[in-house]
Subunit: 611 residues, 2 copies
């Protein structure tokens, strides 16, 4: 954790200089000192209430006794400690009980918890749920539901997917019908009856809190009783597990939301994942069929309202993947320093009587550690950079805010996908460093690897992110986002040119950037989405590696500006990771871009019977 | 399985033409018909006794009740069915009860079991153990121990590693001291007393058979009572769990081999993995301290005798990795054909009322399936090719046999490492095709991925294979092995040039081969192992991809020779996989080779305090 703290401190302060945000009105009470205090608290809680129980939540998987979902004691304690810390509403307004913390600091502070135990605590879902209600809900909904989530009394979920509709939300079939003639008169919002099944709902059922606030996507049938096809027909509803009154008191009526089953997963087992039945009649309520839900915002605007938080949700996934990557790095670094075996190359057979060395002395172990460092710390840089763009988009002045929002749109698929892919690879290397021991459950690295495998799947799969990037983000506003990114990367290249040590890297990045630009054009040369998007994932991989090279080059500029002689071992480490990234990683993009450029249809045109 | 059968049949018969082996005296009784009969039997047993229990052995992990290791019933049944099939001694002489089956056919036949459940059956260890005794043991040892392993009565282990010595066997500390003045007079072999700990011993303790024959590496102390440092001091011993007499009857004396603990693993849980104590006094035997063991072969030749079977052991690991890759491919292919979701690119928003399609219609899903096919079937081709080299090395005439042995030496690190790395990647893609369902334990793919993670670790880690390849194999006999490989690859290139469809691939492979050759020279240009081997793993990755491209090109030649118009969908599939490999995979080698060529020391020179 001390390693994470020093890296986060360097990135936030020496690199991103986030303390300058305190010059803005919203953050006027803040300073490096308040940020440090938040970090101290989070680091301590993570160390005491999260880290010691990471294996516990893996082994004592949630189970259902027919009445209740059973979770280990530590899950209650971790959630309570997190809620007590105020982190649930850290970025919210003072009036809401928040700290008005910059999002970038909140995201970094949450990193300590994810690094300690990524799945034990699902409070981030609660925050996201409450945030969505803040954006689209009525004042009463905000006061009754959002406020009781931010203060830790209730928990929240995001109920989007259905068994037949995961990536394809337009196909959801949950119906919401007006609940009686007076349905519009309910103080909690227009009242509907919902019926349908929701799949992959994290924290969908538990006893951690007295109530669970489900945010549910459903379709209101048209006059003909049919559901509107496509995303346009989707609306958003608050469906509390326990009904409440306008004062936020439980009425004692259980709503008709029933656990249909727990999903038993490869990893991430601290988080309950559920199939929920809405309105199947298990808990009949107020004499009618269906679960009672309250419309949030306007009918038909469900996706828009839910996806308002999407950039942050995707950064959060990127951060989770990153933290697992770093957790594996730290574990394998410790192991490599203490485990002795073998002799340096060149000694081997010749002087077998010499004592074995720590395995970190072996070049291949160093390679595996440096790759992990480059992946994990690079991913952290990217995610913090994106988190800062969230703050800039909200609090910077006019055009600067607009540019931040545009740049964030382009970078979000990378912030989510790149750590998911490469910090998973880092975790595999962490296992490899441990040898046979890494394959046992006596060491933590196999769990990190299992936990991390989720991140390429949830919150938009790799394929979805890639289609979003190449199909939408680099094309929107006539390519304005891509141009802005190029401009921003070029500024780093210019800055790096001033350092002789970095000129080669700067030139290499300039070539990579040009290649990505040319490839983007080539992909869309004939404006056929089938051809352009046939290789969207390789495109995203190359795009991601280019973005990460930019991150490392920019970080390296900060290193050299502050410590030109590399007197601090951490400076040497960051320069080493930069060199590694440019020499071992960036050259990979050629192979990925080639197939995009030539609009290679080998995969897309495979006949189904040829597999 | 039907998919595997048709692929294996194509590779063995249409590509490798293994039936021609029947022209050799040893295989004179064999023919395509006998090979098919073996496949039929193995496929049936694998389908009935292995496949249905793959999840069972994952869930009902071996445990120790203080007296016995408890295994599920299916493990007993699977082992018995395998032993009854005669596969334990399939490749052995008729006099030993074997079938004199070519090794390549035996290896392919064993593939059906690995594809069905890779970890349920550890008979391959028993065969390898018995084989080592055949090679180095006395006639009595062969009759008493090897014969009773081949007939399925007893099981065998390979006890090499120790807690402090995994990759570095020269550091083993197990001692073997002569057992009394008459120690050389024992009919079972020179009798020693062994004391030490052995780690990672698969099938080290169980009740599946009445006895377990441990093959143990230990050091005989010199006159000064000290162990000889290095590998030279290592000898090989038979240490039976239950002592036996010359007739192979149990004497009723339990030898002092005690289970110290079971390793709890990430996967491969059907196989018990143990820490064993030899001679710690838990089962005192014949009034002396130490476990009783019988020397096999000459003192000091332990490693040589144990490693006699190394090529085959490594091919077996490669095959296991391959079969897991193919199992995941078949599972995700089935899923992709039946799971509906989304619409083809270009339809999406425009016609959301159209019914969702099977996900195999999506280009990115096809890409993930074709990658799996290219990895899995390519790896199978390589492993069968290597297995055939084993047969050629043993039964071909003079120089041809010598060339086969030399080529096998060069290819073995690739046969083991390449499937371990890329069929693991295939398993990750199989999860991805399944989306959230792939992350649950309701589908088999997450287990394949966990099981497969072992293969880069055991039987020589990735790093060890790479050092063997670049440090030894491509340099031995003045580079004769590498030259022979180049010559063999060039023959394929020439053959491919005759097919217009393959000329581009052939040229690309020629360039890749030249690049690998130049890189090998550059790595060793100044004869410094520290520099040459600093990037041995990237070298092995590039070497492996080049070898696999060669395999696919050679397979493609066979496809076109037999079905020039590609009238069979399987031909289309093989050509598609070939194209995929050349267009998506082979271009990756540039990035790997570059760091080897420039003898990049960025990783090797990282100071320890900079991580």
């Amino acid at each position: 954790m001390s390693n994470l703290r020093s890296t986060a401190d360097f990135l936030l302060h020496d690199w991103l200089d986030v303390s300058r945000l305190a010059q803005r009105e919203r953050f006027a009470d803040h300073s490096r000192e308040t940020f440090d205090a938040v970090f101290d608290t989070c680091e301590r809680i993570a160390r005491e209430k999260f880290a010691p129980f990471n294996r516990t939540v893996d082994v004592e998987e949630p189970h259902f006794d027919g009445e209740r979902v059973i979770l280990p004691r530590c899950t209650y304690d971790a959630r309570q400690a997190y809620a007590d810390s105020g982190m649930l509403s850290a970025a919210q307004d003072y009036e809401l009980g928040g700290m008005q913390l910059p999002y970038v600091v909140e995201a970094a502070a949450n990193g300590f918890f994810a690094c300690a135990s990524v799945s034990i605590n699902t409070s981030m879902l609660t925050s996201a749920n409450a945030n969505a209600i803040l954006v689209a809900g009525s004042p009463v909904q905000q006061r009754v539901f959002a406020a009781n989530e931010f203060n830790g009394r209730w928990a929240g979920t995001m109920a989007l997917s259905e068994p037949q509709a995961g990536s394809s939300l337009s196909d959801i079939a949950t119906r919401a019908e007006p609940d009686g003639v007076d349905f519009e008169g309910d103080v909690l919002g227009p009242r509907y009856r919902l019926r349908g099944n929701k799949m992959w709902i994290s924290a969908g059922e538990h006893e951690l809190t007295e109530n669970i606030v489900h945010l549910v996507l459903a379709k209101i049938p048209g006059a003909d009783g049919k559901l509107v096809p496509g995303v346009k027909g989707i609306s958003l509803f608050i469906v509390p597990k326990q009904l409440v009154n306008e004062q936020g008191e439980l009425t004692g009526e259980r709503n008709d939301v029933a656990l249909a089953g727990l999903n038993h997963k490869l990893g991430w087992r601290g988080t309950t994942n559920t199939l929920l039945n809405f309105g199947e009649g298990r808990y009949p309520v107020r004499g009618g069929p269906g679960a009672i839900g309250y419309l949030v915002g306007q009918p038909g605007e469900g996706l828009k309202n839910m996806f308002h938080m999407m950039n942050e949700a995707r950064i959060a996934i990127g951060m989770a993947a990153t933290m697992l990557g770093l957790a594996g790095y730290y574990a394998s670094l410790d192991y490599a320093k203490t485990r002795t075996q073998g002799r340096p190359v060149g000694v081997g057979g010749k002087d077998a009587a010499q004592a074995p060395v720590a395995i970190i002395e072996h070049a291949d172990v160093k390679r595996m550690l440096l790759a992990q460092k480059a992946y994990g710390e690079g991913a952290l840089a990217l995610n913090l950079y994106c988190a800062l763009l969230v703050d800039e988009g909200r609090t910077a002045a006019g055009e600067q805010a607009e540019r931040a929002r545009l740049l964030l749109e382009v970078l979000t698929p990378i912030a989510k996908s790149w750590p998911s892919e490469w910090c998973l690879e880092a975790n595999s290397l962490a296992i490899q460093v441990h040898g046979g021991y890494g394959y046992t459950r006596d060491f933590p690295v196999e769990q990190y690897w299992r936990d991390n495998r989720l991140n390429m799947i949830h919150e938009g799969t790799h394929g979805i992110q890639a289609a979003d990037l190449l199909g939408r983000k680099v094309r929107m506003q006539g390519g304005a986002g891509l141009m802005l990114l190029a401009e921003t990367v070029n500024a780093t290249i210019q800055k790096a040119m001033a350092h002789a040590r970095l000129a080669g890297h700067a030139n290499q990045l300039a070539r990579a950037l040009a290649d990505v630009g040319a490839t983007t054009k080539a992909a869309w040369a004939n404006e056929q989405p089938e051809e352009a998007l046939a290789n969207a994932v390789p495109y995203m991989q190359a795009f991601g590696h280019t973005v990460l090279a930019w991150m490392w080059l920019d970080v390296a500029c900060s290193v050299l500006s502050r410590d030109a002689t590399l007197s601090d071992p951490q400076s040497v480490g960051r320069m080493g990771a930069t060199d590694y990234f440019f020499q071992y990683e960036l050259p990979r993009i050629g192979a990925w871009l080639q197939v995009v450029k030539e609009r290679n249809m080998v995969c897309a045109q495979m006949p189904l019977d040829a597999f």
